[in-house]
């Protein structure tokens, strides 16, 4: 700890901080622009000026940038001294010289850090009377709007986009008054993390284009704490609604998970919630809708038919649990292919039985050596890729720290590090974007990657120094053995149980060698691991076999489009052999026409529940609004069906039942405050205290103000009434603090800036390794290739996700479905010229156009996962290819 003095008051602060961080953590208001709690200091904007004094006898002091000043023992500054105040007022006045007077039409207005800091710095009258410099703006694609005139040259955008996120198509141009931030040519921003510019930029230069289509000011939004459902990482998000439409998604800070950032799939993939294809009415085929349809369903169930249930990795734990209760454990199936079920179960198996811990997303950033096996994380779990990009800087940064450069001194560190990265090794079936930062990489089919990684595990187990060798396996084994904190990253992307085991074995060998090793697995969907923990009688394939064996059962299909999960022949067979089918889902899809009854399910915007992410972390999400149609949380429908009730039980009752009946889920009852939680006597409002139009916003329907909806399932209210102070960390509906209207108000919710939220970061880890765990799992490397072509999935951040792919902005980024194959493979199969090729395994057959990609290993073809033309394929396929 260090003793510092601010305006002659003594404070204790942790060592190694700069004065801006220290003051901000102490709750003192000091304006800033260029410093960012995750990207640290460069001293560029000059807004955080303070007076610094040598000692208590120094009465003159001098202007210093607080963000560039060590908070050492005895550091003495003044925020309030007049010269510092004058400097800050003058500085912001000059930053604002070219800034337009357009807050009223700026999407940042009302949540703008520049507005907040201008007010805080006391620049309240604009004296500049001359012509302002103006810029041309660029079309940066479907996600981000560009309005360069609002720029104050803080450089945060380039520092995030290039230095932090590794982007390569964005930069800064020109000098002095003409500095310009953008692309060298107009065009779509290529980084998977471009959306963070919206939050990183303290002004309205970069704003959310999808929000703009249905714009609402922050203070008019109703918001809720939620969990991104875009992939298995489970980033924490804030959802915002007005007039029954989901308006946008923003980052919800969670220091253990995604921190300050999100990927573009998560941020912009929400638009399907507002889609016209939404199912909004309870319906019976060709007959009733609404209450009558639901009564008919209940009547049908009251006749005690034999039931079969299809659960879903994109439905909440509560919904899956109740379905399992309703149909019985023996009749509850996981609605994914046999292979996916097996691979995800294997991930759970190695995490539970193994002796290696899986780190949180935030912890991934702390490892010093990385080996990625088989997984294209940039496309399957984008935020893991962002974390790995930070991990790759750890060892090179040591050089800067050895020079006594402070941890927060970003520009100086980068000067030392330059482009150095790693050690960072990749062994994947195709070239992935992380190769930009890789020390070395290889590509191979499943069999060769299994062999390679088995060899790595073997070399590590044998211990000792391996002779310097050009062999990839030796190099990886050496780097991992030399590392203090190695990380093994893998996942279900290759749909191979062996790959999962190989990753676990490398990690296990390192654990045995005494390393502080971590192992990370990406799993296919938001609640895949939750489904594995819940357990099922089998996969969708098993369920289909079961219906074929015993036709006429009533099937209840929960948030599953069978045509996305398996080929249409099997899906059709399921529906043919089922008796009545009750389908609970949110969007119309190929399965809906086959249902006898439909129940409209809430998406993450209209429902609440719990999801288990790839780390085994249980996280709660809350609905943001109550729709004025039949839509309900799936668990609510299931509860009513199960109990033949008019109304579902309270959410807490269901969580309690689940926690009591599934051992692994016991901690979940303490995941978040229960519905009867009050602060004083008050609920936590989803709407801000400035929410406008309350009495008139529905006047087109009825001039009488309707009774606001009541949330019986959570401590949150749907209106502005309630306690406007800080909510418990799991239940923060939006970030706001007096004088801090922008996302920077997160500072006020943290124990120290950049650190955990007050009350601890939300979420509970359900899986921890045991010391006595297994370090080696049996690997069978004779994968079934025997001379056949192996078709593996290639993954796309935009397109491979079932629901996000139905969002308008995302749709603009989806590539056409094309098979990738190397010329050697084509030649071996006697294929020449342009056209389409067919891959045929006997059981599965698919014809698509192809392109030559020499990075694809010989004997492998890549098929994009989950696109409209490729959905329902089960990977891997072993077969042959021929010209169509």
């Amino acid at each position: 700890m260090a003793k510092i003095y601010v305006d002659n008051i003594e404070y204790e602060v942790p060592d190694g901080k700069n004065m801006l961080e220290a003051c901000t953590s102490l709750g003192l208001d000091l304006p800033y622009f260029c410093w960012h709690p995750k990207m640290h200091s460069v001293g560029a904007c000059r807004q955080c000026a303070v007076m610094s004094y040598r000692d208590e006898n120094d009465t003159r002091g001098r202007i210093t940038m607080a963000c560039m000043l060590d908070a050492n023992d005895g550091t003495r500054i003044s925020i309030n001294a007049q010269p510092a105040k004058d400097f800050r007022a003058g500085n912001i006045e000059s930053l604002m010289i070219n800034h337009p007077h357009d807050c009223a039409v700026c999407d940042e207005g009302g949540e703008c850090h520049l507005q907040d800091m201008t007010v805080m710095s006391g620049h309240n009258y604009r004296r500049y009377r001359f012509q302002k410099r103006t810029h041309n703006n660029q079309d940066l694609g479907p996600f981000i709007n560009h309005e360069m005139n609002r720029c104050i040259q803080c450089y945060r955008c380039v520092r995030f986009y290039n230095d932090y996120a590794g982007g390569g198509d964005f930069g800064v141009f020109a000098s002095s008054g003409r500095v310009y931030f953008g692309r060298s040519e107009e065009g779509t921003l290529e980084s998977e993390f471009s959306g963070n510019l919206v939050e990183v930029c303290p002004t309205g230069v970069f704003t959310d284009k999808t929000l703009h289509k249905h714009y609402t000011r922050k203070w008019d939004l109703t918001s809720a704490p939620s969990i991104c459902q875009g992939c298995s990482v489970g980033c924490n998000i804030l959802t915002s609604e007005r007039y029954g439409k989901l308006r946008r998604v923003m980052t919800r800070f969670n220091g253990d998970v995604n921190g300050y950032f999100l990927c573009d799939r998560g941020r912009f993939g929400y638009e399907y919630v507002n889609d016209e294809q939404r199912l909004t009415r309870a319906a019976q085929k060709d007959q009733n809708s609404g209450t009558d349809a639901f009564s008919a369903m209940k009547d049908h169930l009251a006749s005690n038919p034999k039931l079969i249930g299809i659960g879903s990795p994109r439905a909440s734990l509560e919904s899956n649990f109740l379905l399992k209760q309703l149909v019985g454990a023996d009749n509850f199936y996981n609605g994914v292919s046999a292979i996916e079920n097996e691979v995800v179960n294997e991930v759970l198996n190695v995490l539970v039985k193994g002796n290696v811990r899986t780190p949180s997303l935030a912890e991934i950033e702390t490892y010093d050596t990385v080996f990625v096996l088989g997984e294209d994380v940039t496309n399957t779990s984008p935020m893991i890729a962002l974390a790995l990009r930070q991990a790759a800087k750890n060892l090179p940064k040591e050089k800067a720290f050895a020079l006594k450069i402070q941890h927060w001194n970003d520009a100086a560190i980068r000067e030392v590090v330059q482009d150095e990265k790693g050690p960072f090794y990749l062994a994947t079936p195709y070239a992935t974007k992380l190769e930009e930062i890789a020390t070395s990489s290889v590509h191979g089919n499943t069999k060769s990657l299994v062999q390679l990684s088995s060899k790595v595990a073997d070399l590590i187990s044998k211990g000792g120094d391996h002779q310097e060798d050009n062999d990839f396996a030796y190099r990886v084994a050496n780097a991992l053995t030399l590392s203090k904190k190695p990380l093994i990253v893998s996942g279900c992307g290759m749909m191979s149980k062996e790959i999962i085991r190989c990753a676990a074995n490398i990690a296990g060998a390192l654990r045995n060698a005494g390393k502080e090793v971590g192992v990370v697995f990406s799993v296919p969907e938001v609640n895949s691991l939750g489904m594995a923990l819940l357990g099922s009688a089998g996969s969708l394939d098993d369920a289909i076999l079961q219906t074929e064996k015993e036709s006429g059962m009533t099937s209840i299909v929960l948030e599953t489009d069978l045509f996305f999960r398996t080929n249409s022949q099997k899906a059709n067979s399921f529906f043919e052999h089922s008796g009545k089918t009750i389908l609970i889902d949110s969007l119309e899809n190929n399965s809906t026409p086959n249902a006898d009854f439909i129940l409209p399910a809430g998406t993450f915007a209209e429902s609440s529940g719990t999801m288990i992410n790839n780390e085994g972390r249980a996280q709660r999400f809350y609905q943001v609004f109550k729709p004025n149609n039949d839509i309900k949380s799936s668990w609510a429908w299931l509860d009513m069906l199960m109990h033949q009730a008019e109304k579902e039980r309270n959410f807490d009752a269901i969580v309690e039942e689940m926690a009591n009946s599934v051992n692994a889920f016991q901690p979940i009852s303490g995941l978040a405050p229960h519905a009867d939680f009050r602060i004083g006597t008050q609920k936590i409002p989803r709407a801000s205290h400035r929410f406008s139009g309350r009495t008139s916003m529905n006047a087109d329907v009825n001039v009488h103000e309707p009774k606001p909806p009541v949330d019986e399932d959570s401590p949150l209210s749907f209106t502005m009434e309630g306690y406007h102070g800080k909510a418990p960390s799991s239940d923060i509906p939006f970030f706001w603090s007096p004088g801090w209207n922008s996302v920077q108000s997160i500072n006020k919710y943290q124990i120290e800036v950049g650190g955990p939220l007050h009350g601890g970061n939300p979420g509970i880890r359900l899986i921890e390794p045991s010391e006595s765990g297994v370090s080696s799992f049996e690997v069978n490397d004779g994968s079934a290739d025997n001379g056949k072509i192996e078709a593996l999935p290639s993954w796309f951040i935009f397109g491979s996700g079932e629901l996000t792919a139905k969002s308008q902005a995302i749709m603009k980024r989806i590539e056409p479905a094309i098979i990738s194959v190397s010329s050697a493979t084509l030649k071996n199969s006697g294929i020449e010229g342009n056209g389409k090729i067919t891959i045929n395994s006997g059981e599965q057959k698919l014809t698509l156009p192809y392109k030559v990609d020499e990075n694809v290993p010989a004997g492998v073809v890549l098929i994009p996962y989950g696109l409209a033309d490729t959905m329902g394929i089960t990977f891997p396929i072993y077969g042959n290819i021929s010209m169509d």
């Binding site: 930069g171 000098s175 310009y180």
Partner: protein
């Protein structure tokens, strides 16, 4: 390879590549490479940046950052001769405005413009480092100091 559409000539490329021998990274040659391109082409076009990127192993936007930072790297076409008139403080005090007017009237162009016959481009520049002889201007590489407005037509006549 068909090089006919290239804007960086083979000679220019060779001259750039010759710089690499003295440098630890190819990127370190960036400024000089831009000067070489400008020497051959008079200015640095978007196409030239795209061609330069793989030569220097840099991204296009990185080279453009450097190119646009310096005001004597031209990112728009310029005339055969470039006039830089100092408009910084000493020259301002010593009569820059009259010189500015003289050039303007003589060529009928203002800052940032090129004469229709492509002969002159007229640009401002901050401090030519010759404040003791202000006001000053530069034509191509020739410095003119202690200027009087009436000298302008004579000076410019030297440049064809």
């Amino acid at each position: 390879m068909d090089n006919s559409n290239q804007v960086i000539s083979e000679d220019a490329r060779k001259e750039i590549e010759a710089l690499f021998h003295h440098l630890p990274h190819k990127q370190a040659a960036c400024i000089d490479a831009l000067k070489i391109v400008q020497k051959y082409n008079r200015w640095v076009s978007d196409e030239a940046l795209v061609e330069l990127a793989p030569i220097l192993e840099m991204k296009t936007h990185e080279i453009d950052s450097v190119a646009t930072f310096y005001n004597i790297i031209f990112r728009k076409p310029v005339g055969r001769h470039v006039i830089f008139l100092c408009n910084s403080v000493s020259c301002w005090v010593m009569g820059y405005e009259a010189i500015h007017k003289a050039v303007k009237d003589h060529l009928n162009i203002d800052f940032g413009m090129t004469t229709p016959d492509d002969r002159f481009t007229f640009l401002p520049i901050p401090c030519l480092g010759t404040c003791d002889h202000a006001p000053a201007l530069l034509v191509d590489e020739d410095l003119y100091r202690d200027l009087k407005p009436e000298q302008i037509s004579e000076i410019l006549a030297k440049y064809e």
